[in-house]
């Protein structure tokens, strides 16, 4: 049970949350660019993208610290505080998964992406980026909700969370298809292991985005 009037004074650190979500989104785009670069034969900027992701991750970490300090300063109910930390933590895991995926690729840099799997990989990346993009919009709309407390605005946030789940589900389906294709097209065990693990890592990016959405759903629950 939330008390709208009091919440105005105990305000959530939405600007910092938004900033964090934007960094996550930027990181996701850098990841997509890195994947396209990895799939392309003429791209030599993969290292640059890795560095970019690394920088964005460290920026996001600083923002996360800022949020934690700010939440401690403004007295909130323990439940809200817990949910908020869980939300940031899930949003942060998106970044970790992106970083891990790129690191994993870098372990077999010379192998490249098999030609017949490229499209599937790009589609999967495309699908996991979508829920991340939704995250920043979700935070912006939640901020509006905490200003107006209108049911209509709450519904907008819930719709975004539903979209997020739907996108994650689509990503899951693409992940399954890709795994199937890897097993049916690849014969080299090392390549199969590398590609399957990569697929799972990419898939987990969308899972964390979905989890962050669920946390937000709990925060705005009445």
């Amino acid at each position: 049970m939330q008390i709208p009037f009091l919440s105005k004074f105990t305000g959530m650190p939405f600007n910092a949350l938004q900033e964090h979500a934007e960094k996550v989104k930027e990181c996701a785009w850098a990841f997509q660019q890195a994947m396209e670069c990895y799939g392309s034969n003429r791209c030599d900027r993969f290292e640059e993208y890795m560095k970019e992701v690394d920088q964005l991750e460290s920026h996001a970490d600083k923002i996360k610290g800022k949020i934690r300090a700010s939440v401690h300063k403004h007295s909130k109910t323990p439940v809200m505080e817990f949910q908020l930390f869980m939300f940031i933590s899930e949003q942060d895991k998106v970044l970790d998964s992106v970083e891990e995926s790129l690191n994993w690729i870098s372990y077999r840099p010379s192998s490249g992406m098999p030609e017949n799997l490229k499209k599937d990989f790009f589609n999967l990346v495309d699908a996991v980026i979508t829920p991340i993009e939704e995250l920043s919009v979700m935070v912006a709309e939640t901020k509006k909700y905490y200003k107006s407390y209108s049911e209509k605005q709450r519904k907008i946030v819930i719709d975004i969370i539903q979209n997020l789940r739907k996108s994650e589900h689509e990503a899951d389906q693409l992940e399954d298809t890709l795994k199937l294709n890897i097993f049916s097209n690849e014969t080299d065990p090392a390549a199969v292991f590398h590609l399957v693990k990569l697929t799972e890592m990419i898939g987990s990016i969308a899972d964390h985005a979905e989890n962050a959405g669920d946390m937000m759903r709990a925060i705005i629950a009445r």
Partner: protein, 751 residues
């Protein structure tokens, strides 16, 4: 009697609020010339205006009679009836003036108070006549109809006389001094200074100080009847001083003239207009005090208010202090001043007002008149006039705060001299002119003569002037009707009426405050985007890139909201995003104006270098136009309650929206952060978007053939698809242009 004590307390609180809203609106009268010409740093201008106001309030003691007996005859009313009238007047006044302040429109506080008194008095009189079963013709006994007619005449007179005087005076002054006036001041400074200060001093004496105890009624009468002597003596006295200053010092004599004029107008405002804000509550208190000591307080009629009653100096000084504080802190006062200054500014730029039929017709007519005058004027005369009135010579130096003035000091001094002269002359002849109307119209007349309203801005400026004048007539109409309605409510609902109306006033003020803050923020954002003078080419290019990045971000945000609102058939969100299109249009125009400015700064670079850059204009316009088209189509469709998009269409458009947003936001980041452009990535995203559009295009054809999607729905769907594709292509082109520009800049030949 308790309810009346409560009503008096409310009246006092309303007086404070009215002082705040009133000063916010009237400040423009005395600040326009000094702020527009940036005669001194802002704080100096404010100090001088504050001193003028404080001097003025002490002179306003016998001005309070308008509220007591100026509009109605108090002997026909009892104390409760008068309190009803006064409450209705104050509540209406606050709402009315606050609305005008919010929209930045100057209006006359005198006209508003007079018509509010009229409206409320008519309401109470009619109710009284109806209850006593009397004849409605007897209403004329209750109301001072002559005063109301005089004020309406005043509006018309102010508009015509002040505008004509301003225009003529500025024309001849400019003819004498030209736009390069400073060298001429050496020889003509004495005459100009003498003339200016003579009029301003006369104005101070006749308008500002007429109620003071320093001047006896005989002295005031002597001044009125010996105007010529007064003016001649002042002219010679000040003329000598200014000629000395012009010849032997480096003081720009126009500066003291403008500052003294500001002081004089501020003083006259405080002396004359204080009554508009506290006169009514003071009259209410007097009515209560008279009733309180009588044996039948609720039924005694208020003949006592006919007598002259002294005002408390302490109360006047408190009122003056509130006015001074408001002058310094009110943001709405700045908005009103900005409207008047921007309507008269010498240079072109982004105009606040649009255009409509009447303004176009007026400009067309005036242009035809000028053509005619051009044909019949002998060529030699034409040559002389055009040489002396050549505005291209006008090269203002930045003021102390580094900002350029809107107009020069010569125009500022003409504004003050003419306004002082017109108001003093009319007051001496007992003609009812409004200071607000006179100062505004003089300022517009002088700007017309100074050719500030060129072909590029005349229509918009005329629209602005017509809007302000229209507002003046609305002031009278709204003041009368709303006050009449409020008085009826208060008469019948008593205490409940007071509470309901107080809540209403609170709500209106809150809403107008939030609206004004939002508007100010938007305008501040746009103003911050405009490139200032005196910057380098590289800085200008970088700023343009940054602004384009912000622009793409805004477009992306609006599109997302529009798509989502259309899917949810949310009219309210669509309306809000539709309102945003105007801001986007202004943003586009600002960026384009900056690009032209940058091209001017790049004039030493090769044509190929700059040609690429100029191509951004087309891409920006295409993006803004397609964005607007999507929003307008969606709004029209949903607002007319046509059937919503099919589920399958929503799913498809969602994918299109994601692709467009991704493209726009990625490009935005590249421009904002000057990130190395990954053109392949943008190209891939754009291709993906085109493929989606083609695929969904085919699917939609099938839906049309199976009658699954009706005509209007198909039009909307295709509107989304085609405009999204256009936005995608233009964004890619934009990035391409910027990429090539950077390559040329870095000495790399683009492929």
């Amino acid at each position: 009697m308790n309810i009346f004590i409560f009503a008096i307390i409310i009246l006092i609180l309303l007086a404070i609020s009215d002082l705040i809203v009133g000063v916010s609106n009237d400040a423009v009268n005395f600040l326009n010339s000094s702020i527009g010409s940036r005669v001194a740093p802002r704080y100096v201008i404010m100090i001088i205006a504050s001193l003028g106001m404080l001097a003025g309030v002490t002179f306003s003691s016998d001005m309070m009679e308008v509220a007591r007996k100026g509009i109605f005859h108090p002997q026909f009313f009892t104390m409760p009836e008068l309190i009803t009238i006064f409450l209705a007047v104050m509540l209406t006044d606050i709402i009315l003036l606050d609305l005008f302040n919010t929209f930045g429109l100057p209006t006359s506080t005198t006209v508003s108070i007079v018509f509010e008194l009229l409206g409320a008095a008519v309401a109470v009189s009619l109710i009284k006549i109806y209850m006593s079963e009397g004849n409605f013709i007897t209403l004329v006994h209750y109301i001072n109809t002559g005063k109301a007619l005089a004020i309406i005449t005043g509006i018309l007179l102010s508009v015509v006389i002040a505008f004509a005087c301003g225009a003529i005076a500025q024309f001849f002054s400019r003819l004498v001094f030209t736009f390069n006036y400073e060298p001429k001041l050496k020889y003509l400074g004495g005459i100009w200074g003498g003339l200016s200060l003579a009029f301003i001093t006369y104005f101070i004496l006749i308008k500002g100080a007429k109620g003071t105890s320093f001047l006896s009624p005989e002295t005031v009468s002597w001044i009125k009847h010996n105007a010529l002597i007064m003016l001649s003596v002042s002219f010679v006295f000040f003329g000598l001083i200014f000629q000395f200053l012009a010849l032997f010092t480096r003081i720009n004599i126009l500066k003291p003239i403008v500052l003294v004029g500001t002081f004089a107008l501020a003083m006259a405002f405080a002396a004359n207009d204080l009554v508009n804000f506290i006169g009514v509550p003071m009259a209410g208190m007097e009515a209560y005090n008279v009733a309180k000591v009588s044996p039948d307080p609720l039924n005694i009629t208020m003949e006592a208010l006919q007598k002259k009653l002294p005002s408390s100096t302490l109360m006047l000084l408190i009122a003056g202090s509130i006015m001074v504080v408001t002058l310094w802190v009110s943001r709405k006062a700045r908005t009103v001043t900005k409207t008047e200054v921007s309507l008269g500014r010498q240079d072109e730029g982004i105009e606040r007002f649009g255009s409509f039929g009447l303004s176009r017709a007026i400009v067309g007519m005036v242009a035809a008149l000028f053509d005619l005058a051009d044909k019949i004027t002998p060529p030699a005369v034409k040559r002389i006039i055009s040489k002396r009135l050549d505005p291209s010579v006008y090269k203002p130096a930045p003021a102390a705060e580094g900002k350029l003035p809107a107009f020069d000091l010569l125009r500022a001094s003409v504004n003050l001299i003419v306004a002082s002269a017109v108001v003093s002359y009319a007051t001496a002849l007992k003609l009812p002119l409004s200071t607000t109307y006179v100062t505004f119209m003089v300022a517009m007349g002088t700007s017309l003569s100074d050719q500030a309203w060129g072909r590029e801005s005349a229509v918009y400026r005329v629209t602005g002037v017509l809007t302000v004048i229209g507002g003046w007539f609305c002031t009278a109409l709204i003041a009368f009707t709303v006050s009449l309605f409020f008085a009826c409510m208060l008469f019948f609902l008593k205490l409940y009426g007071i509470i309901i109306l107080l809540v209403l006033v609170g709500f209106v003020i809150y809403r107008s405050f939030t609206y004004h803050s939002k508007k100010e923020e938007e305008e501040g954002g746009i103003a911050a985007l405009s490139l200032k003078d005196g910057i380098g080419a590289n800085f200008a290019v970088n700023t343009s890139f940054e602004q384009t990045g912000h622009f793409l971000n805004e477009i992306s945000h609006n599109l997302r909201t529009c798509f989502d609102a259309a899917f949810a058939e949310d009219r309210q969100r669509l309306r809000s995003v539709k309102n945003q299109t105007k801001t986007i249009q202004t943003l586009t125009n600002t960026i384009i104006a900056n690009i032209f400015k940058t091209l001017y700064l790049l004039n030493n670079k090769d044509v190929e270098h700059t040609r690429k850059y100029s191509m951004t204009i087309g891409a920006l316009q295409e993006i803004a136009e397609s964005h607007r088209d999507i929003i307008m189509r969606s709004y029209t469709h949903i607002n007319n309650y046509h059937s919503g998009l099919l589920e399958v269409q929503k799913e498809e458009l969602k994918k299109v929206r994601i692709a467009v947003n991704r493209l726009l936001e990625n490009t935005s980041i590249m421009l904002l952060k000057r990130k190395k452009v990954d053109y392949d990535y943008i190209e891939n995203q754009c291709t993906k978007l085109s493929e989606l559009v083609q695929e969904y295009n085919k699917k939609q054809i099938l839906r049309i053939q199976t009658a699954e999607s009706k005509t209007r729905l198909s039009i909307l769907y295709y509107g989304f698809l085609e405009n999204s594709e256009k936005i995608g292509k233009s964004t890619r082109n934009l990035l391409d242009i910027f990429r090539e520009y950077f390559m040329i800049e870095n000495g790399i030949k683009p492929s």
